[in-house]
Structure formats: structure tokens, C-alpha cells
Assembly symmetry: C2
Homo-oligomer: 182 residues x 2
């Protein structure tokens, strides 16, 4: 196993309300030096939830993506607040965005989004045994909820408006967890 | 189908060598207004390659992630240069990072990474019929190449150092494409 590169220097080079960009100077084990830019993140994980209405049906949402500038099909998600339990955060987001709570919630994986640049991880949470319950969220408009059968996954993957890598991974991982009879 | 929110204003609020952060003021169809921050990106897609050494074996790489500050198992990837064909970019990255070229390359999906904040998409490229060939890259150190059998995907998913959502999605998508006998 290689020893990690030595961090020679780090400094903040740009900052906005939401983002902080850091430059770091690294020296690798072989002596090579490189300067990288990265977004350190808040240190809090986010959650992405796979809400199963029944054994075969997942509840998708459609909402506007400010990054992609279009309406996207996806899975409910959000940031774990400081001090908040991740499964409680998942159940809160589920009630805010989907109008359901869940009696059974569990983490099935922890993934990174852009590990080369962004130090942030997201927990994939499988939610089962749902019940109707709504909490007020900070969304600018009502979120459309779309039930989708997992046996029609091909049709979903073929859609241009369902393309977030994390959501694709989450559905595959959920399918495996469900198939394993967990 | 809802009409998209109107963009009332957009301005650059932070900028570094690599990142530009934009604030946009949106008015949704129902009149609600919100200000979001996003990273517009260069407009060029990136590629992530699934290189199949044979029908059952994918070639993984291990490299340092400046965002996550650790060595990570993953798939070769890179940015498509302006004017470059995406499949040529994939074959170039493959030769730089893995020391193989591919005679058969095809795009199996186009995914987003963080659609809420980042306007960037990545092409997932399945590479088959490999041959040894190395191109010099800009990597600071030799990249370790690790053959992994797809029937041992569970063991890979269980590893803490293999966690990029895009790579997980890419392997599942490649497995489906291969199973479909394409």
C-alpha cells in the first residue's frame, strides 16, 4: 500500500454562500508535486432515499434541478442536519418530499459523488413499510410523486430525465438488497 | 408538464482556476422565488470507462482522490477535450491510465453527478477487445491496475475504498449491457 501524499499547503481560493474552494499542494511518495482544487464540504453526509410503496414499486419524484436547468426524475434526498440521526433525516426528507413516512429504514451503502474534487458522502437509505404523513419542507413548489415498478427499470434508465448516477446506483443497490431477502 | 422557472438574474459570485460559482434567481410557475448556487461547468462531458479484459473481468484502477484525501478503487475517467470525439477521449484515457487500448468502444449511458448544483454530464463507455498500449498521461505517479471479476461484485461493493456512485452505476449498467448480449 502506498503512503498518502504529503499536504504541503492548503488555502481557500474562492468562497460563496454555499461553496468553498480550496487549493492543496501535494507531494506524492515518488516526489512528484501537484496542486489540486477541491470543495471540502460541510462534513455532513447527505441521504438519498429509496422509498418502496410495496415490494415492487418505488416512489420517484420530479423536481427542478438548478444545476441541470430542467425538471428531473429522481429520488428524495437531503442533507443530514448537525446532530441529526441519518435515518431520522431520511424519514424527515421522505415526509417533506414524498408525503410518506417509513416504519423500516436502513442504510444500504455510503457513496461519494465526485471523489476527485468533492469531499462529500451520501448514505443510500432503503425505506419500507410506508404510511402517509406530510411535513412542510422548503421546496418552492409541490413535488410530483411518480410510482415506478422496479420490473420496468429498463424503461426508466432509457429516459433522458432520469440520469443521476447516484439514483441509478441506489436503485440497483436496493434491488440487490431486496432480492437478498433482507 | 410544468413550465420551467423563469431565470430572473444570474451572476458569478466566486471563481477559482477550476470552479466558477453562479447565483441564479428563479421564479417558479406558482410565483415562488428562490436563489440557488450552482457550478455551471465547462460544457464538456467527461467519460468513465468500463474496460473489460475478458467477458468476466473488469480492470479497476487505484488512485489518490484529492477530494476524499485517500487512495480509491475506481474506473478510469477523464474530460473530453474540446473538439475531441468522446470515444477517442475514452480510448486515450484508457491508454494513459490503464495501459490498454480498446478495439470496441460504445456509450452505454450519459449520467449527471450532482444535478441540483453542477451542470456536468459523464458518458459511461463500455470498452472491449483490449490490447496493450500506453500513452503518457499527466498523472503524478503510476496508476495501479487491478483486475476484478464481475461475479465478485458483492465483495467489491463491500469495500470502503470503492464508493463512487458513478462507478457503481457504471458497473451495474455494463453488467446489464453484457447480459443483454449486446
Amino acid at each position: 500500500m502506498r503512503s498518502k501524499p504529503k499536504i504541503l499547503d492548503r488555502r481557500v481560493v474562492a468562497e460563496s454562500r454555499l461553496f468553498r474552494v480550496e487549493q492543496i499542494d501535494l507531494e506524492f511518495a515518488n516526489g512528484a508535486r501537484r496542486t489540486y482544487e477541491r470543495v471540502p464540504g460541510s462534513g455532513n453526509d447527505s441521504v438519498m432515499i429509496v422509498p418502496m410503496l410495496d415490494a415492487e414499486t418505488v416512489l420517484l419524484i420530479r423536481e427542478y434541478g438548478a444545476g441541470s436547468e430542467r425538471y428531473e426524475l429522481g429520488l428524495p434526498k437531503g442533507v443530514v442536519e448537525p446532530g441529526e440521526d441519518p435515518l431520522e433525516a431520511a424519514n424527515r426528507e421522505l415526509q417533506e418530499e414524498v408525503g410518506h413516512g417509513a416504519r423500516a429504514l436502513r442504510v444500504i451503502d455510503r457513496v461519494s459523488l465526485v471523489p476527485g474534487y468533492i469531499a462529500h458522502r451520501s448514505l443510500i437509505v432503503l425505506a419500507q413499510d410506508l404510511y402517509p404523513s406530510r411535513l412542510p419542507g422548503d421546496e418552492p413548489e409541490d413535488i410530483e410523486v411518480i410510482p415506478w415498478r422496479l420490473d420496468a427499470l429498463d424503461a426508466l434508465l432509457a429516459r433522458e430525465d432520469f440520469d443521476e448516477a447516484r439514483a441509478i446506483a441506489a436503485l440497483f443497490l436496493a434491488q440487490r438488497a431486496l432480492a437478498a431477502g433482507d
